[in-house]
């Protein structure tokens, strides 16, 4: 290195050193929030990710059995030691009443396992000594099946791909990953439905919102202010209030049907509540301001002289609009549509109250698996799928628009 280079590096370091206190001071102001979000926001999401691959049940309930299975090659017939270990584990499980937990977990992979495990646990409670193997086989001949023990052994691992695979309609069988067939394959369908509804809502908000944004920019100030109020007030109103309004409006004996029949547009009352049509209408209504505002803020920055210049250069009105004006509004359209699409993916309340069973989105299934089926792993795995899709689009948004461009009203 030459002296000049050394000097340059020294100067560079001096600059970094001089900036350090200011950088540290700036960062320290944001630090409380960063730490808070790390604990109250990032940690729960990470915990969700862990839950999606976590596999504690078998390890906790069957430690001895797993140890006995360690040397098993997966082919040969199992002998008494494994069954004895299994019996011991089940006795402990019966005492701690954790057998049901194990049964539930294994039941995800082999149906009927729940009752088999519970029956076996009840049986071993009454047995003092072995040999156990024949007792188990007497109880249920499937205790001899290779598949059963393979799955128990596989679930000895701390992490399992089971939930993630299930959330993507995949399953692990004989060491390979296959697509689930028939009525078991529901989740990709749900994901596709979620994307479809979000896309539809985005499209409708764009079609309805673009002209509104345009009119907001050309209207006289006072009128534009009033119109803006009409856009912002719904945004401020509780999502639940807006959904409630739609529940009421969409009833079979509700106001929309009253109007339609009064105008003789339909002869019989339409089923609107608990349908996809109703869900999309309500979601479009709720998302509309999110699409309008970014488009409006971009349109406002386009000088009126642009269109005048196009006209003076000989462009007819429609061509001036489509070739000069519309392309310049594109950043706003992208920002608004991505925002609405991202937010639409996570809808829960509106589909739950306005949609029918066939209109439930990923969020609703997550809720069902948490609250009704108590299958946290699968709920978490579905959450991961939703999160990945959302974050992918958020990254796109950050690339195209930027987080510092998000404004409120």
């Amino acid at each position: 290195m030459t002296a000049v280079e050394v000097d340059r590096i020294n100067v560079f370091m001096a600059v970094r050193r001089a900036q350090r206190p200011a950088r540290r001071a700036a960062l320290s102001l944001a630090l409380p929030l960063i730490v808070f979000l790390a604990i109250a926001f990032v940690a729960p999401i990470l915990y969700l990710l862990v839950t999606a691959v976590g596999n504690p049940e078998t390890r906790e309930v069957l430690p001895q059995t797993l140890r006995a299975l360690e040397s098993w090659d997966g082919i040969s017939t199992l002998d008494e030691p494994v069954y004895a270990a299994f019996a011991n584990d089940l006795k402990v499980a019966k005492d701690k009443s954790t057998a049901a937990l194990l049964g539930k977990r294994l039941n995800y992979e082999i149906s009927g396992m729940r009752s088999r495990v519970l029956a076996a646990a009840r049986m071993v409670e009454k047995l003092d000594t072995g040999p156990y193997k024949e007792k188990f086989l007497e109880l249920n001949k499937d205790w001899d099946s290779r598949e059963t023990w393979e799955i128990i052994k596989r679930n000895g691992a701390s992490f399992t791909p089971y939930y993630m695979l299930t959330a993507l309609d995949l399953q692990q069988a004989n060491g390979s990953i296959k697509r689930v067939q028939g009525d078991q394959a529901i989740f990709l369908d749900v994901l596709a439905r979620t994307l479809f509804v979000a896309g539809l809502v985005t499209l409708f908000t764009l079609i309805l919102g673009y002209p509104v944004a345009y009119v907001l920019t050309i209207a006289p100030k006072a009128i534009a202010g009033f119109m803006m109020l009409m856009v912002l007030l719904p945004l401020w109103t509780s999502l639940l209030v807006r959904t409630t309004a739609w529940v009421v409006l969409l009833q079979s004996d509700g106001i929309i049907n009253d109007v339609l029949t009064a105008l003789h547009l339909t002869s019989e009352r339409l089923q609107l509540i608990f349908t996809r049509t109703g869900t999309v209408i309500a979601m479009t209504h709720i998302q509309l301001p999110f699409t309008i505002l970014p488009i409006y803020s971009v349109m406002r920055s386009i000088p009126a002289t642009q269109l005048r210049a196009a006209r003076s250069l000989g462009a007819p009105p429609s061509s001036a609009f489509w070739r000069i004006y519309a392309p310049q509004t594109l950043p706003g359209v992208v920002a608004g549509c991505l925002m609405t699409f991202i937010l639409s993916l996570g809808y829960y309340i509106t589909p739950a109250l306005v949609g029918g069973p066939r209109d439930q989105m990923v969020s609703n299934f997550i809720s069902v698996y948490i609250n009704r089926d108590l299958n946290w792993g699968l709920a978490a795995a579905l959450g991961v799928v939703l999160l990945v899709v959302t974050l992918a689009i958020y990254l796109l948004f950050l690339r195209l628009v930027g987080a510092d461009k998000i404004k409120l009203g």
């Binding site: 979000l37 969700l48 719904p234 106001i255 009105p317 309340i349």
Partner: protein, 269 residues
């Protein structure tokens, strides 16, 4: 209307159509909100217009029911605590981010805004599972923590927006006149960014007061908030008492919105 003089007849027609369309969309935006108001004052338990006879019976129902009153109380407590926490954390962070020397601004901004973006169910389930480990589910504290995470991006955004119009020479002037950094902040910076801070606080309050999904997961009957009470009401059997509750929430939104609009106007001036 609002047309330059060089417009052609076909252009006039086009513009009139666009205007009519926009007005229709604005009606679509605003009408559903106000449909619930007359329904909540109807004497009949039906959701049809016109209302045959007005009465306050659903409001009497609402205010006479300890469940609803308890829910309002819970919502208010949680929202106030969330507001205080989110406004403090968010304002401090915005002050840091707005400094020229803030490192990795884009990355940290993306993190701070993320709670607005991540699907609410994921926040709800994550909080339910994670806070459950510490016995914080079915407590108000747990709900406040989750709501604060959801509300801080709004505070960060509003305060950052105000700071972008704040003349940093004001702080420099205060320092050059002998004020310590902290007294420069409290006597000069804070009074001047107050509109942004108050807007952020209003946002935080509204977010918490209206939030359903996280509250559904994080609360039991005892901590039930107003939106949760409404949600379960609609799920079971929608009744006009819910219309009364919705109308009251709408009124609250309008009040908060008005305060905010007044603050913004003052700021523009």
């Amino acid at each position: 209307m609002w047309l330059p003089s060089y417009t052609t007849p076909s252009e006039r027609l086009m513009r009139t159509l666009v205007l009519a369309f926009a007005v229709a969309v604005l009606l679509f935006l605003i009408a559903p909100l106000f449909i619930i108001v007359p329904l909540s004052f109807s004497k009949d338990p039906f959701f049809t217009l016109p209302v045959r006879e007005y009465s306050l019976r659903w409001y009497a129902d609402f205010f006479g029911n300890t469940r609803w009153m308890n829910a309002i109380f819970n919502s208010a407590v949680v929202a106030v605590m969330t507001t205080v926490l989110a406004t403090t954390l968010g304002t401090l962070a915005a002050l840091g981010i707005s400094r020229a020397d803030f490192p990795a601004r884009r990355l940290i901004m993306a993190l701070l805004i993320a709670p607005m973006i991540v699907p609410i169910v994921i926040v709800a389930v994550g909080s339910y599972l994670f806070f459950g480990q510490f016995g914080l589910t079915n407590t108000r504290i747990g709900l406040v923590l989750a709501h604060t995470a959801l509300a801080t991006p709004f505070v960060v955004i509003t305060v950052t927006a105000t700071l972008s119009t704040y003349d940093t020479n004001l702080t420099r002037a205060a320092l050059s006149l002998g004020a310590s950094p902290s007294s420069a902040f409290f006597h000069v910076t804070l009074p001047n960014i107050m509109p942004g801070v108050v807007s952020g606080a209003i946002f935080a309050f509204a977010i918490s007061f209206d939030e359903v999904v996280v509250a559904l997961f994080m609360t039991a009957a005892e901590q039930r908030t107003l939106p949760v009470q409404m949600f379960s009401g609609i799920r079971d059997q929608i009744n006009p008492t819910i219309m009364a509750a919705a109308t009251l929430l709408l009124a609250l939104s309008i009040i908060l919105f008005t305060i905010l609009a007044l603050m913004t106007r003052r700021r523009v001036k």
